[in-house]
Symmetry: C2
Subunit: 239 residues, 2 copies
DNA sequence: GAGTGGTCTAGACCACGCA
DNA sequence: GCGTGGTCTAGACCACTCT
């Protein structure tokens, strides 16, 4: 897995130190980090090197910088996390905020495909969340979510869960989601889709298969979403 | 549209100069730009300022830097452009390269929705391309592409067009695609889908509605793709 | 006014590609 | 060995926020 770089820049080492501290919760979400000058003194490097690290982590949306105020851990607030990973919108481009429909939460042994997807041990347990979310009052999204139980102990007692789970993951479990990999496909609505969302069986459904990755590189969520596609689109910008 | 910044950093002005030169073709795709030192001398700024600009444009994939060699205009080669904006893959993650199926090209007056999408004048003309592409020998993608005719004069004489049009846009027409906005939805296969791709009418189809934007901010392509979804997914990473 | 991040500069040295 | 980009430093000054 690892190549031998033969050369490891200083800012890389500083980067790793800062990431480790963020992941370990040395600084809390929303809190200010030490200033460039202070951290530079503490680590024995120049301010420019700290700046390079902070800039990189800001680009990755792990930190936020505010001129005159300081550098902060980026907060996955409801509003922001919402539109960072939630890509559904009306065809005219209008973004929508989903609301609570229904949910069930279970903790159970992981099955083979789940262990593979989340890279879990043979005896691992998972949390399974099934929920329906509404858009403008109408059932529009069915989600099936699987989490490793060791990272999210007690989450089943927190229901009803908030709209944006990633905000909860960060504030209650110290899990910072930084990347998601999604695979979209078109499928036909099943009888279950009809029961849960009221769409006609056989109508087109957008299916989103997502793996979410948290800050110290680990796959921590597998989410299957089934979305009614009559008046919704998945909007994304490629660069 | 424009706020008054009240303060315009030097690197911003340099950035604009470099972008203008790239868009005007002062340097050709694949060519080396002047070195940081030389450009710094020419523009009367420090090397660090040039570096900041080059780094930003490298992040935007407009430039490519190679230690020991120089800084180059990023080339939309077939291989690279392919996988930058072409997101279709097998469910197991295997990326595929489409091949030529059939195509027809027309030049005609723009219709109202096309003028709106591409921000064209009332009397503008457009190039219309309809083509079918194959994946592993099987008809899999129907594309309907609309381009402003003024930017792509004579493209109708170049057929058969290559797999990746963006490579052609760059090398033959000086149009650098840097961003695409896509809206995905699920629909049912029509009789036309059946004729062109052999899929059963009523089976699920992934529809991709794309607007492509080129370097000096302008919408230069509207593309509607209909993709058979039986063994294909649209894969994307969100950060 | 004090403290923060943002810009800009100048210079040294390192890693890399190529002739 | 030369020229390129990549790293690292030190210092000056600017813009912004808060008290």
């Amino acid at each position: 897995m690892n190549e031998t770089p033969g050369f490891r820049p200083l800012y890389r080492q500083v980067y790793d130190i800062v990431v480790r501290r963020v992941a370990q919760g040395v600084w809390r979400p929303g809190e200010a980090l030490p200033s460039e000058q202070n951290l530079a003194r503490e680590l024995g490097v120049s301010q420019g090197t700290i700046r390079k690290v902070f800039d990189a982590l800001t680009a990755e949306k792990v930190l936020e910088r505010h001129q005159g105020k300081g550098t902060f851990i980026a907060e996955n607030t409801q509003e922001r996390a919402q539109f960072r990973f939630f890509r559904l919108a009306r065809p005219d481009g209008k973004r929508l905020a989903p609301s609570f429909g229904s949910e069930t939460i279970r903790v159970r042994a992981a099955r083979a495909p789940e262990r593979e997807r989340l890279e879990l041990a043979r005896d691992a347990r998972v949390v399974e969340i099934d929920r329906v979310r509404l858009l403008e009052g109408v059932s529009a999204i069915r989600e099936h979510i699987v989490l490793p139980a060791d990272l999210f102990a007690g989450i089943e007692k927190l229901g009803p869960l908030p709209n944006s789970l990633y905000s909860l993951y960060q504030s209650k479990f110290g899990v910072n989601i930084v990347t998601t990999h999604e695979q979209l496909s078109a499928q036909l609505a099943t009888a279950e889709d009809h029961r849960q969302m009221g769409v006609d069986a056989g109508s087109p459904i957008l299916v989103i298969d997502r793996t979410a990755v948290c800050l110290p590189e680990r796959k921590v969520e597998w989410r299957l979403s089934r979305v009614r596609s009559d008046d919704l689109v998945y909007a994304v910008t490629l660069t």
